[in-house]
Symmetry: C2
Subunit: 497 residues, 2 copies
């Protein structure tokens, strides 16, 4: 495959084994790697790095777009290669190492990592490892199923390792739109004015002299392991569709809504599936990860265009989709995550942002990251980029977890990723709380009535009423603010009686 996919002849001599490429990476280096939500990560060199660590122990800082597939984070953690990791992860082994303090995790807004790099507010990338479909005549790198931070990593790294992966359809070329904002303070506006704006190039325009090694691979992306919609996620989707229908009826939104963003995971995916049978037409997405539901919406004709930073599909959907990528290419674009998540564009397009809450409170503050306020789950991801700057920030959650032992709606969040100023709408399977332009006291009544599970409603009301007696803009009984969490630690359940 080399000659088809390495179209710059002088680079053919750079093809080496994964082990040889891995030897370019030394102790203390910062490595910038492709990969965003299990899509398009480098698959061979990181494994070679993990394998050779027994003989040549090194510690690196690993930057990616977001989470990785193929157990890369697990294997690198087990091999002891990771000193620092950013800006997102979702691997159980790495998560444990982070929570034990063995790997330092910097949990960043996904649009900001490359801003920090560009302004030298973070150590520079020494080596970039980028999965590619092809290298062009000019030496440009054509990404695979994600763009993530790959472009900025490749353009700023001293050395680039390309993993040319033949398992990806060559027809992915042309899907990407690579655009890098200028240096500040002299930056121009970013000319995206709609989901389907194309403003850049199909390949990452690196200096071919910086390509230090090319490794040939053929391993597939890991499939997404999405659960089918269940009665609760279906109820959440129905509440949201009803609400949006009423917004259309009231003339606040057109029947095409505004461009949609949906976070990764089962609930947001189910919500989007709910739109397949909705009354809305000519929908657009300006999102981060495109999941199975995006393909279903495209196939149904409901969705006219989808913009993302990666595509993460389940195996059956991937099998049906990628062989026919050519027929979708005029309705899809993959962008750098800095552009998919850019505040400028999110605000301009008026995005309706749908993200999942780990925990929320009766006043509408949202915790997306920390179990019990201390232990990292995955990271904030793009939810902060979107929620702060969106037309409407919607957070969805099942009202309980662990078979009812945990209420996801609590008196006070133990960690606040999205505060009352940003959270417009909360939805659980029990109902929807429209919090727009309400004071905290008003919010609490609606959240308790509409979103809290009936098993926790009385104790939520009791807390709120006793807090009200103490007064304040956001009434609390401070010494009991985390009493539900303490009850869970003691008894296994947040139920107080």
């Amino acid at each position: 495959m080399s000659k088809d996919r390495i179209r710059r002849p002088s680079l053919l001599s750079k093809v080496v084994s994964a082990d040889q490429a891995a030897s370019l990476i030394h102790d203390g280096m910062t490595v910038g790697m492709s990969g965003f939500t299990r899509a398009g990560e480098a698959k061979a060199v990181p494994l070679a790095l993990a394998a050779r660590n027994a003989a040549h122990p090194i510690k690196i800082t690993l930057l990616t777009g977001a989470s990785l597939g193929n157990n890369i984070d697990k294997l690198l953690t087990e091999a002891g290669v990771l000193a620092r990791r950013l800006p997102f992860q979702s691997d159980a082994t790495l998560r444990n190492a982070i929570n034990q303090g063995d790997v330092l995790f910097i949990d960043q807004h996904l649009s900001e990592t490359v801003e920090f790099l560009r302004s030298h507010q973070m150590k520079p990338v020494d080596v970039a490892i980028i999965e590619a479909v092809a290298i062009t005549e000019d030496g440009g790198i054509v990404p695979t199923t994600s763009v993530g931070n790959s472009a900025s990593f490749a353009l700023s790294a001293k050395q680039i390792i390309v993993e040319l992966n033949s398992s990806h359809a060559a027809e992915l070329e042309g899907l990407h739109d690579i655009y890098i904002p200028g240096k500040r303070p002299l930056r121009d506006s970013i000319p995206v004015v709609a989901s389907n704006s194309r403003i850049g190039t199909h390949a990452i325009p690196v200096n071919p002299d910086n390509i230090a090694a090319i490794v040939l691979t053929d391993k597939f992306d890991s499939p997404a392991s999405l659960a089918a919609p269940d009665s609760e996620t279906i109820a959440i989707a129905a509440h949201l569709t009803d609400f949006l229908s009423n917004e259309v009826k009231q003339g606040r939104l057109s029947n095409s809504l505004n461009p949609l963003q949906a976070g990764i995971g089962n609930i947001a995916n189910s919500v989007l599936y709910g739109l397949v049978h909705s009354p809305f037409e000519q929908l657009t997405m300006y999102s981060e990860v495109l999941q199975d539901s995006t393909v279903a919406l495209l196939d149904s004709g409901k969705l006219v265009f989808a913009s993302g930073a990666s595509m993460t599909l389940s195996q059956p959907v991937a099998d049906a989709f990628f062989p026919h990528i050519a027929k979708y290419k005029d309705r899809l674009v993959l962008r750098p995550q800095e552009i998919s998540n850019h505040p400028e564009i999110i605000r301009r397009l008026g995005i309706i942002a749908i993200n999942t809450a780990l925990e929320c409170d009766i006043y509408g503050n949202v915790n997306s990251t920390h179990v019990n306020g201390t232990h990292m789950m995955n990271g904030i991801g793009g939810s902060g980029d979107f929620a702060r700057n969106a037309y409407m920030a919607i957070f969805v959650a099942k009202s309980t977890a662990k078979d009812g032992a945990i209420s996801t709606v609590v008196p006070m969040v133990t960690h606040c990723d999205h505060n009352e100023h940003d959270v417009d709408i909360l939805v659980t399977e029990h109902g929807l709380a429209d919090l727009r332009a309400l004071a905290p006291r008003e919010r609490a009544k609606i959240v308790i009535n509409n979103c809290v599970d009936p098993a926790y409603r009385d104790q939520a009301l009791d807390y709120h009423n006793r807090a009200l007696a103490r007064g304040g803009q956001t009434p609390h009984v401070l010494e009991e603010a985390f009493s539900w969490h303490q009850q869970r630690a003691k008894t296994g359940s947040m139920r107080l009686s």
Copy 2:
């Protein structure tokens, strides 16, 4: 003065008394009023409204730019006129009413209020009351010392009351730059590419038929009551100047830095004063409120241009400045707060944002609004617009309050307005914590060592060490997270021993 300042003859007949104008406002109405940080608020009609409330009791929703001068919020509160108030306030009487639940306060990001209005996600403005320097030949309204939300209020209101205030120099005309972004999702980019970009008109281009009344006034803006820099604010300024000097030395910033934003209040004002004798040259500001320090920086030649949404000066500085406004006008612009605080522009220009924390925690989360997590101080203001989207978000605070009885750095903030993902730099009089690209465990060590008052350092370390033993990305002893606040409630001091 009428003919000089009402340049559209047909409007001369609209001149009425404040009482007559106030009679246009009925129970249940939403009133949008000029005024931003004690500058340029309507001064006569709200007082007439308060006075007539005894005979004609009404309740209104009052929207402004931000806080008001001349005790307007106090008098309206005492008269019982206010049902709802947004998006910011700083009046002691109103604050009490809010915390007692008598007035509902919606604490919004200052750039967002008019987005909510424009998209009909909030009740529309029935009557706008706008202080003006003049009405143009076309019927355009020329604002005074603030623009705030005045333009969007006036353009969307069914009826407009203009307060033509002769105490403001006529030469203010030409200072303003009125630009209203388009409706979403079809909005274009906002073409501000530097602090001194002028993209709009000098007056608010209303339909003159909507001007229902004109009231002639002559009351001055309330002066800012700024304290002189003290040893602590001088120390904070010195730490920050040293830090920024090192950023220049390291090549991360030019000697003109990036455009500066500074929040309202003594500390931020003192920090800017510190720049008068700094090594930086050709500075620019892209900020919200312009205070005394802006004038000092302009006079010193350090500052080449300042963009804001209002000017709030102390009496001596105002007396020296406004009579000579003409000589400053090519180095100043006042914009709608939606534009001064717009995420698109903040991110594009790469703003260095300096705001005051009410409370922060050892992990770098910041509380800007709620005393003890419950009682509103003033509101989030523009700090969230800036911190989330800035090049660098700096928060400043004195390390203690109430003669040392309160540590402003605590184990966990009782309310989170700005989380770890957004807070780059913390500064107290004791030192500066550079938190960029650090994990929470690393942040805590630096914050405790550099920023916490020595009287609280041991108890902060003790908390953190015991939290570390429990593990986690952001270690906490959850049942003790607010123990310092509880100690203060019990003993009057946060000191645990």
